[in-house]
Subunit: 317 residues, 2 copies
């Protein structure tokens, strides 16, 4: 199949063609490079929202509600749900996704889970390519939903133009989010399950932390939106705040800066992936034995490794 | 100060000398390389236990109980508590540490928090060096405690000879641990807070998951120990299981394999850190602008970056 033909089909709403293109990216196929080159001129117009937070705060419910709101406004919406590696990957743990199934029959909505396939760098390298594919396929809004609270999730969330951090009373409170470094990347906070007794306490803690840590630039202080996503409450306000952030991104020049920063991360991730490909050569095993036995110091080993050129093609994956 | 003199002091129990050596490592001082070279011949005899699990399961309490048990057996014990980057780093979030304060006046016990200073690769690069320093300083047991459930924590936990994964009823259950990929790295499971009503359910879930995912090698099936660490219950059994694992590591040849694997990770992390140092040059900004504007594809940019030699010395950090 030609990437270009598939892309035309995907643009026309052929979900299976789109799925095949994203699979190429996810599998780090050697054909990804040509594909990305081909579709590059058609990218740059999608708006990317990152959504992150501890397990159980209601990310999928909020995502489902956002899909509904933006569909009502006429946008094509795609969701990339990023799951960390797990021996139980695939269907079993993706029960949450059923909460998005309201939109399963809408061919202007595309929902896809990405798995990280065993190493930290993998998702950081493949997610931007998946975003490009969705962008080129004509999705105006792309939501990246990350499951988890680690630094990998923070890194992936920061691929977005607007980053929404979700909290909920009792589940992964503000202190835990602070521990994971998630608060720093937030453009907006959502306190979901606002009908729970201690939700006002979460809002207060969060407000104190935002003040304490001087989060956000001087002209964009991250707002806190309370929602009960299950009932659709607060979603209009969230959409309003997101749209205000999008306007601010454009008018302040931040969008351009942020997309350049994203490109920096992407290039770095690809370079790391290529380096990792190079590391699979036998040389690393020999060096590791020397270091483990105390015959060679690890810095000398790293230097030797970086200077090893084994003559094979650069690999990405 | 000479690393060697400081090391002699640290070996003799001078905690301030030891703290200075670890700070060198944590700050990625250019002197680390010489220090590690110097102390390399004195390393290799410490036993390293990794302890990980979701926030709130009682990691610090279990660590405190383990310190007590191994001190009673006459070992010098060190703890590296690894915290993810946070704008609130330092004292504020380290309240948990007070649970280890029973041992604060024992000069045969050394407890240290490591912060990750802003990027994922940082801790992966500096933690092994901190372990070497503690090993060379004569600590027989080194416990690495990671706070969090992300892949970075999994990566750091796998630096250990024995990895203990903690769970507790209601806090980060087995499914969440599976999502984070934590179960795969476990040599032992601890279900803490075993006096809570649903702790037996956690044990059952865990047992099912271990069977389902075929966790562990054929001759070491990860045991599940129930503890109430606050009351010291189950700690003797945990120590017994840990000692059995240590014996198995030696007799099966796994210890050597694992330490070689650790050296591989260490070399890789140092190589990545060096590469990252190289990436700070202006070239990356130029490439990022080209990619962000769609004029250059990211793969070509990554290749160009890897081939850039800017003439500066290799940096680690």
């Amino acid at each position: 199949m030609s990437g270009n033909t598939e892309l035309k089909k995907a643009r026309a709403g052929d979900t299976r063609a789109l799925a095949r293109l994203i699979s190429l990216v996810e599998d780090s196929s050697p054909r990804v490079r040509d594909l990305i080159k081909e579709l590059l001129p058609s990218t740059g117009s999608a708006r990317i929202i990152g959504l992150t937070g501890s397990p159980g705060v209601g990310k999928s419910t909020v995502t489902g509600a956002l899909i509904g709101a933006y569909r009502a406004a006429g946008s094509r919406v795609a969701v990339l749900a990023v799951d960390p590696t797990s021996p139980f990957s695939g269907g079993a743990l993706l029960g949450d996704r059923v909460r998005m199934q309201d939109h399963a029959l809408d061919d202007q909505v595309y929902i896809r889970s990405m798995a990280s396939r065993g190493h930290l760098g993998g998702l950081a390298a493949s997610t931007p390519q998946a975003i490009r594919v969705l962008d080129a396929a004509g999705f105006e809004l792309i939501i990246i939903e990350t499951v988890g609270v680690g630094q990998a999730e923070v890194a992936i969330a920061s691929l977005a133009d607007s980053v929404v951090v979700l909290l909920a009373p009792g589940m992964g409170d503000a202190i835990q989010a602070a521990k994971a470094g998630i608060l720093e990347v937030a453009d907006l906070f959502v306190v979901n399950k606002a009908d729970r007794p201690d939700s006002q306490q979460v809002v207060r803690d969060l407000r104190n932390m935002i003040a304490l840590a001087h989060l956000g630039p001087a002209d964009w202080k991250p707002p806190i939106v309370s929602t009960i996503a299950m009932k659709g409450e607060g979603i209009d306000e969230l959409v309003g705040r997101l749209d205000a952030h999008w306007s601010w991104l454009g008018s302040s020049g931040t969008l351009e800066q942020r997309r350049q920063a994203r490109a920096r991360e992407e290039i770095t991730a690809l370079a790391f992936a290529a380096l990792r490909g190079r590391l699979t050569v036998n040389r690393l095993d020999t060096l590791a034995r020397e270091v483990a036995s105390g015959r060679l110091d690890p810095f000398a080993a790293a230097e030797e490794l970086l200077n090893t050129r084994d003559g094979t093609d650069t690999e990405y994956g």
